[in-house]
C-alpha cells in the first residue's frame, strides 16, 4: 500500500466533484424556494386556500380540463358555495393576470414547462 496517500487524495477529489451539487447548495442556500410571486391587486380570495393551490393546482387544472371537455361539467362550487367556471384563462387568470410574474416564476425555478399556454391564451395584462 505504498500509494495510499495518492489513492485517498484521488478519492477525496472524486467525491468533492461528484457531490458538488449537494455541498454547493448547502453553502448557498439555493435549494430553498423563496420566490416572490406577484399576487393580484386587491388581494381577493382565491377559489381555494393558498396552501392547497400551491400544492394541488396542477392536479386541479387537469381535473377541470377533463371534466369540462369530456363531461361538459363546467361549474366549480367552492366550499363557501360560490360558483366559478372551470377555466384557466377566464377564471384563474382573470385575477392572476400576469403570467410572467405569477406562473412562470415558479415554473422556471423548478424547471417545468407546462404546455397550457401552447393553446390557452394568456390575458393581455401579462404581456
Amino acid at each position: 500500500m505504498r500509494d495510499r496517500g495518492r489513492i485517498l487524495l484521488g478519492l477525496a477529489a472524486f467525491l468533492a466533484l461528484a457531490l458538488f451539487p449537494i455541498w454547493y447548495n448547502l453553502g448557498s442556500g439555493g435549494s430553498v424556494i423563496d420566490l416572490e410571486v406577484q399576487l393580484p391587486e386587491g388581494g381577493g380570495d382565491c377559489i381555494a386556500d393558498t396552501e392547497f393551490m400551491r400544492h394541488e393546482h396542477m392536479q386541479l387544472l387537469m381535473d377541470w380540463r377533463d371534466e369540462v371537455v369530456r363531461d361538459n361539467d363546467r361549474v366549480y362550487t367552492a366550499e363557501d358555495g360560490k360558483q366559478y367556471y372551470k377555466s384557466l384563462s377566464t377564471t384563474c387568470m382573470s385575477c392572476h393576470d400576469n403570467k410572467q410574474e405569477f406562473c412562470d416564476k415558479c415554473h422556471d425555478f423548478v424547471g417545468v414547462t407546462p404546455y397550457c399556454w401552447d393553446c390557452h391564451v394568456e390575458p393581455k395584462g401579462g404581456l
Binding site: I47, D49, F52, E56, N72, Q83, S89, C119, V121, P123
Partner: protein, 259 residues
C-alpha cells in the same frame, strides 16, 4: 442477520403498509375559501339531439354574406392561412354540386346548380371520424355533438380520412401567428392537431346559441333539439322539404338543408 424468504416477505409487507399509511396522513384536506373570480353562472342550453337547419332560400337573399363564417372563425381563434393547402376552416361555402354530388342533375334549378352553400360538421348520428380515432380525442356526446378534445389529439389524421364531408382541418403549421385577433375566452390550437365545428358547445354551456346562428340576420341557420317535438327545427322539417349531404353513406348527418 440471516433472513429467510418468510421473514423477507413479512418485512416487505410491513413496508408497503407503512408507505400507504404515510401517504394517507399527508393527503391534504381540501378547504375552500370565498373568491372574487366568481362570475354569474348562466343557465346552459340543454338538448337531447342537437341539429341544424340551413335555409338556402333565406341565405340566398343576401348574396356574398359571410357573417356566420366571420363570427365563428373569430370566436374560435381559427387561423387564416394564405396557402390553401394549409387552410383551416370550421364553416365555409361549397358549390352545390360538391356538397351534394349524388343529388344533382343538369336540368335542376339554376340557382342551386350555380350557388355556393354553407357547409360545416354534420354532427352525424353515426360518425365515421369517431370510429377511427385511436385516442378517443373525438367522440359523440349524449346530446349528439361530435366533440373534440384537443388535449388528446395526436394528429394522426385518421378522422380527416374518414370524414366524407371534409369537415375537419389539420394544423400543418403553428396557427397562432395567423390568427388576426386572439380571443382569450377560447383556446387556439397547436401544430399537429385536428379541428372542426363543435356546435359551439362552450357557448351552449353558457346559455348562448352557436355563434353562426347568432350572427345570421337572415335567420338562415336554425339550431334546435330534434327530440323536442315542439322545437323550431322539428316544426320546419315537418313543413318543408329538406335534404342531407351524402345520405347513402349511412352517416345520418344532423345538418338539414331546405332547398
Amino acid at each position: 442477520m440471516a433472513m429467510d424468504r418468510r421473514g423477507f416477505c413479512k418485512l416487505a409487507g410491513l413496508g408497503v403498509l407503512g408507505a400507504a399509511g404515510a401517504s394517507a396522513t399527508t393527503a391534504r384536506e381540501i378547504r375552500m375559501n370565498a373568491g372574487d373570480a366568481a362570475g354569474t353562472i348562466a343557465e346552459p342550453i340543454v338538448g337531447e339531439r342537437w341539429a341544424m337547419v340551413v335555409d338556402l332560400d333565406a341565405c340566398r337573399k343576401k348574396d356574398g354574406c359571410t357573417d356566420c363564417i366571420q363570427a365563428c372563425h373569430k370566436v374560435h381563434n381559427v387561423p387564416k392561412f394564405d396557402n390553401p393547402k394549409d387552410e383551416v376552416k370550421w364553416i365555409w361555402k361549397e358549390p352545390y354540386a360538391e356538397a351534394f354530388p349524388n343529388q344533382k342533375h343538369e336540368h335542376m334549378a339554376n340557382h342551386l346548380l350555380h350557388e355556393e352553400l354553407l357547409v360545416f360538421c354534420n354532427h352525424c348520428d353515426n360518425p365515421p371520424c369517431v370510429r377511427v380515432c385511436p385516442t378517443q380525442a373525438t367522440w359523440k356526446r349524449d346530446d349528439g355533438i361530435v366533440m373534440m378534445d384537443w388535449h388528446r389529439c395526436i394528429g394522426c389524421r385518421y378522422c380527416i380520412a374518414a370524414c366524407p364531408y371534409g369537415s375537419r382541418s389539420f394544423n400543418w403549421r403553428d396557427p397562432r401567428p395567423f390568427i388576426a385577433e386572439q380571443d382569450p375566452d377560447f383556446p387556439t390550437r397547436t401544430r399537429g392537431v385536428v379541428e372542426k365545428c363543435t356546435f359551439c358547445d362552450e357557448r351552449l354551456a353558457k346559455g348562448q346559441l352557436p355563434a353562426c346562428v347568432e350572427a345570421c340576420n337572415e335567420k338562415c341557420l336554425i339550431f334546435g333539439d330534434l327530440e323536442d317535438a315542439h322545437s323550431e327545427v322539428r316544426e320546419i322539417l315537418e313543413k318543408r322539404h329538406s335534404i342531407r349531404r351524402k345520405p347513402g353513406l349511412g352517416t345520418q348527418p344532423e345538418v338539414y338543408y331546405l332547398v
